[in-house]
Amino acid sequence: MPAPETPAGPALATVRHRLGVAPPDLFEPGVVVPALVADLAIELDGTLLDADSLVRLDDDLSHGPATPHDVIVTRRVLVGLVCWLVLDPDVRTDPGVREAVAQVGGPTRWMLRIVTDVQRELVGLRADKDWVLRDEGREELARAFLRFAGVLPAGEAAAAAQDRWLAVSTAYQRDLVRAMAVEQARAEELERALAAQKAKEAAAQYANY
């Protein structure tokens, strides 16, 4: 849950709208996403990304022996969309964003954190284009972006932002359904175990309570 003192950032509608007008070429297989990130870092604060940062990006965004092709493509799409949001002047000049940027030590570090966290949180949850074409996809990505950017949607308290994030988070809802199923099955198992004759016979007691 965001800390109560988390600064207010851009309005959710601003971020959602920006996603709605994302350039289609972000979904093209030919787009070189690491280069996009490196260029963005230079534009943000003149940072030349060091080798470690690029290696980490490459690890996440390149084909490895254990990473299926579609996962890589999806990660690249998400990173591209985050770059698109970071480029938005309404986002970059927002006072809350500036505060959050200062807290993490500068624009590039701030941007890299969002790039990393958003793709890890959302990878594989929706078809790539649904992040911009469908209302609920835009809502989930916009909320994830602001959350990992370290700001609250304008006009939302931390607790409300948390509730609304959990309501739209596909991963959370999926985990919730699984967890609730486990807990429900367990409650029924406990009921059966306690009702069994071998439980009813209990055990010898040495003290009184």
């Binding site: 849950m1 607790a159 948390q162 959990l166 959370y172 985990d175 919730l176 967890a179 486990v182 807990e183 367990r186 409650a187 198992e189 406990l190 009921e191 175990a193 306690l194 004759q197 071998k198 439980a199 009813k200 016979e201 209990a202 055990a203 010898a204 007691q205 040495y206 003290a207 009184n208 309570y209």
Partner: protein
């Protein structure tokens, strides 16, 4: 086994107390590690000429796999960060805390003081939310707690944590300087109650810490009102001369009144307040230590008073806070509600469990000490024939008749009134409960049916009270 003399249960709802009504296992399942000699000695105890009619059969259910738990109980906890570890584990495995984490209310790194206290009502309404999801349930035992605030609570118990109580008793008795070693001529422990109906049984204490080669001592749960012939009861008790009398205040008073030739190495009293006068009388009569053990079925043992001067926290993973009425921690030395965090029973670790009992916490050379512990007062009702009847009899009746919460009051003129909140959805008539109480006391019983627990007043509802 002698069961035939047992009179019919005194009320139709108490059918589980019919002789052997709840006993289903074989003796090999009851004591998986007991040798042939142990079974033979147990058979002799059960068949003793003056044995009571045994109402139940139950053992300790311990297997060799439980030995590490018992050995740990003998040493006491050595880790100092177990509360933090329990908080982290609860958020991974205990549904109530998994939910709290999902909803952002708390997490594995939360401080204990940030977690909301848990009440008996939480466990009555939704026990499964407090039982870890990752512990196999194949050995769960049903413990029940009549408690002091209303509806009966089923407590899932593990054989090893139940048996660890015995190891703790050994430690407490040893700490007084008393010597409790196996003595095949005597009963190792008698758990003594005095009720209209009660589970009575004979068992072997295979968990008893002892030198290799010594036999497991025997124990029995005995009901002073459970013999058809008091002379037989007295012969049984004096003949087997229990080494430890584990009991509570009212049966202890009755036992003292019987004036039998007993030689306990120690008396352990639990469940209810032990008045100084009763402690002194027992110590004077038998010249042995008297240990007042404080705990709840839900938490297990919490603290013990060896000398009447405060209850010292026992060497288990148990942590106590004192909270005020608003739920805030009070400074050491101030009175408030005793709230217990405990990690001993694998089926029911508890974080900040409200006991409903009150005390102040002080720290001295003995460790953390509960001073002025209150809330466990036993209550006696006066029947029409002038006899005094312990409230535990009424607890059995009222819970069996499906009351969620209640308050039974007797006025100075002897009149009795029941205020009752029925469990919803069972279609039970609280009048039947009132009628059962009327039969028990031989007096008419007035009845007020409540719609919610608020009708019993704020704070810890008192279930029983007597004027005059």
């Amino acid at each position: 086994m002698r069961t035939t003399e047992q009179p019919a249960v005194p009320d139709p709802v108490l059918g589980e107390y019919a002789p052997m009504g709840a006993a289903t296992l074989t003796d090999a399942e009851r004591w998986p590690t007991l040798d042939d000699d142990g079974h033979a000695r147990l058979a002799a105890l059960r068949g003793h000429a003056d044995a009571p009619p045994w109402v139940h059969a139950t053992g300790d259910r311990l297997t060799a796999a439980d030995e590490p738990v018992l050995a740990a109980a003998e040493r006491g906890p050595t880790d100092t960060d177990w509360v933090e570890a329990l908080i982290a584990r609860a958020h991974a495995d205990v549904p109530a805390y998994r939910r709290a984490q999902r909803e952002g209310r708390s997490g594995p790194g939360s401080a204990l003081s940030e977690l909301p206290p848990v009440t008996r009502r939480h466990l009555v309404d939704d026990l499964a939310s407090y039982v870890p999801v990752d512990v196999p349930l194949d050995r769960v035992l049903e413990g029940s707690s009549s408690g002091s605030t209303g509806a009966a609570l089923r407590v899932p118990l593990h054989p090893a944590s139940v048996a660890a109580d015995l190891v703790l008793l050994q430690r407490l008795v040893a700490s007084t300087g008393a010597v409790w070693e196996p003595d095949p001529r005597r009963l190792g422990l008698a758990n003594v109650v005095d009720q209209r109906v009660a589970f009575t049984y004979a068992s072997a204490m295979t968990a008893f810490r002892r030198a290799a080669g010594l036999p497991a001592p025997l124990m029995a749960r005995l009901n002073l009102s459970g013999w058809p012939d008091p002379a037989g009861r007295d012969r049984f008790l004096t003949g087997l001369d229990p080494q430890v009398l584990s009991t509570s205040t009212l049966p202890l008073v009755r036992l003292l009144g019987l004036d039998l030739d007993l030689h306990p190495v120690a008396v352990v009293s639990g469940a209810t307040d032990l008045p100084a006068s009763v402690r002194a009388a027992a110590a004077a009569r038998w010249g042995c230590p008297v240990i007042d053990l404080y705990g709840l079925r839900e938490t297990g043992p919490v603290a013990a008073s060896l000398d009447g001067g405060g209850h010292v926290l026992v060497p288990r993973r148990v942590h106590v806070e004192i909270l005020d009425a608003s739920g805030q921690t009070v400074p050491d030395g101030s009175r408030g509600e005793v709230v217990v965090t405990v990690d001993e029973n694998p089926y029911l670790p508890l974080l900040r469990y409200r006991t409903g009992d009150h005390a102040a916490l002080v720290r001295d050379a003995r460790g953390a000490v509960l001073v002025g512990l209150e809330g466990r007062a036993p209550v006696l009702f006066r029947a029409a024939d002038g006899t005094l009847r312990p409230s535990i009899d009424a607890t059995q009746l009222l819970q069996a008749y499906g009351l969620a919460a209640y308050h039974l009051h007797q006025g100075a003129d002897g009149s009795v009134h029941l205020r009752a909140l029925p469990l919803r959805g069972l279609g039970l008539d609280p009048r039947a409960a009132a009628d059962a109480v009327a039969r028990w006391l031989g007096r008419p019983v007035g009845l007020t049916v409540l719609d919610d627990v608020g009708g019993l007043g704020p704070g810890k509802p008192r279930r029983f009270s007597v004027d005059g």
